[in-house]
């Protein structure tokens, strides 16, 4: 799902930075409210776990890549704000340490994978709270909705940013291509993400290790 550098317009990523950083600050305040002495190490290591999951990426012919997100277990165990904060951290370190994604695409990735991913998984889990496979559904739908939001954000670029000759200036493919290419290709990833969420959340809860 990572978008390479140069494809997102500054008119999109600058406001996205403002929104994502504002949300991260709010998330950080929420996180501090429930801070205990073990929360920081656990959050750091859960972030590292999410990093490993999301490092397994495969290139896609729609212009991005397929990989696990790892945000759903964090959202179900620590709440969506904390999960969003962790994803901001993971995505930042991915961009800086590994060159996955980039500095211009960071806020778009943070909002799509972090914010949409965390809140959708939390909402879906609450919706199906009585079902035993609620964590699976949370992981599955969070991945699909994250992919959908990336497809929407990229797909609007050719409508907004073209020169007089009709040449695209940033991401070139319209919604008609990005929506099916990105969301359909993320179906198997969503299944894997759901299975991982079910396993991790189940194991942590059995061991009573929630934050």
């Amino acid at each position: 799902m990572h978008i390479p550098e140069g494809f997102v317009a500054p008119q999109v990523y600058v406001p996205a930075y403002a929104v994502s950083m504002g949300l991260a600050l709010y998330g950080f305040r929420k996180f501090k409210e429930r801070l205990s002495e073990r929360s920081i190490p656990r959050l750091a290591l859960l972030s590292a776990f999410a990093f490993i999951l999301s490092s397994l990426s495969f290139p896609l012919p729609g212009g991005t890549s397929v990989h696990g997100v790892g945000v759903a277990p964090l959202a179900l165990l620590y709440g969506p704000w904390t999960a969003y904060l962790c994803m901001c951290l993971v995505l930042l370190l991915q961009a800086v340490l590994l060159g996955h994604g980039g500095i211009t695409t960071y806020p778009v990735n943070a909002l799509a994978m972090g914010f949409v991913g965390a809140f959708s998984s939390y909402a879906v889990h609450r919706l199906f709270a009585k079902k035993s496979n609620a964590p699976f559904l949370a992981g599955f739908f969070s991945t699909l909705l994250s992919a959908l939001s990336v497809a929407l954000l990229l797909g609007v670029h050719p409508y907004l940013f073209t020169d007089p000759s009709g040449r695209a200036l940033y991401f070139p493919y319209p919604l008609g291509i990005t929506l099916p290419a990105i969301t359909l290709s993320h179906l198997p990833v969503a299944v894997v993400e759901g299975l991982i969420t079910q396993a991790v959340v189940g194991l942590l809860r059995r061991r009573n290790l929630e934050g």
Partner: protein, 182 residues
């Protein structure tokens, strides 16, 4: 403070470069950035920089070549490739001069989270790459799907156990050193 200012200048530079849509201007900036990289261009550093740049360039071409062929806008290729290269070179230049931990140290708990996360990410990533190398050496004919799933399960279980153990150890270590939180 110096790192925070440099980070701000770097971000302003990225916005400027990404707002340019003339390949000529982007080419000029590309040469300027190459010159800026010259003083620190040892062979080892160069090798470390070539890999992420070529990967980013390949991805960019992977996306832009079909569009250029489909629409006949061949200048789109140079526009996107140069823009991606400029941003990458600018980022590498900034990262070699900015202490990211200091630039992002807005609070003590955030700094602790950043340092802990990055150090464990690097540690686990190295371990993960070792596991992957071991799998490759056991599969001279290439890794098959079933094999990869089994590998992922084993590695996932291992790392999960380590996360649990290490988080307890780190919490105890922080407590014993009197590292209070904000």
């Amino acid at each position: 403070m110096k790192d925070k200012v440099l980070l701000f200048l770097y971000m302003a530079g990225v916005v400027f470069v990404s707002s340019l849509s003339s390949p000529g201007h982007l080419l000029f900036i590309f040469f300027l950035l190459l010159l800026a990289h010259m003083p620190s261009a040892s062979r080892r550093r160069l090798r470390r920089r070539v890999k992420p740049i070529s990967l980013a360039l390949l991805t960019t071409l992977f996306i832009s070549v079909p569009y250029a062929l489909w629409t006949g806008h061949y200048s789109y290729l140079s526009l996107l490739a140069l823009r991606a290269l400029d941003i990458m070179l600018l980022t590498l230049l900034a990262l070699s001069r900015i202490n990211l931990y200091s630039a992002l140290s807005f609070s003590r708990s955030l700094s602790q989270l950043l340092v802990l996360s990055s150090s464990y990410i690097l540690l686990y990533r190295r371990l993960f790459l070792d596991f992957l190398q071991a799998l490759k050496s056991r599969s001279p004919e290439g890794i098959k799907g079933k094999e990869f799933v089994r590998f992922s399960e084993g590695v996932g279980g291992y790392f999960f156990e380590r996360f649990l153990r290490d988080s307890e150890e780190v919490a105890e270590a922080m407590k014993s050193r009197g590292l209070d939180l904000d």
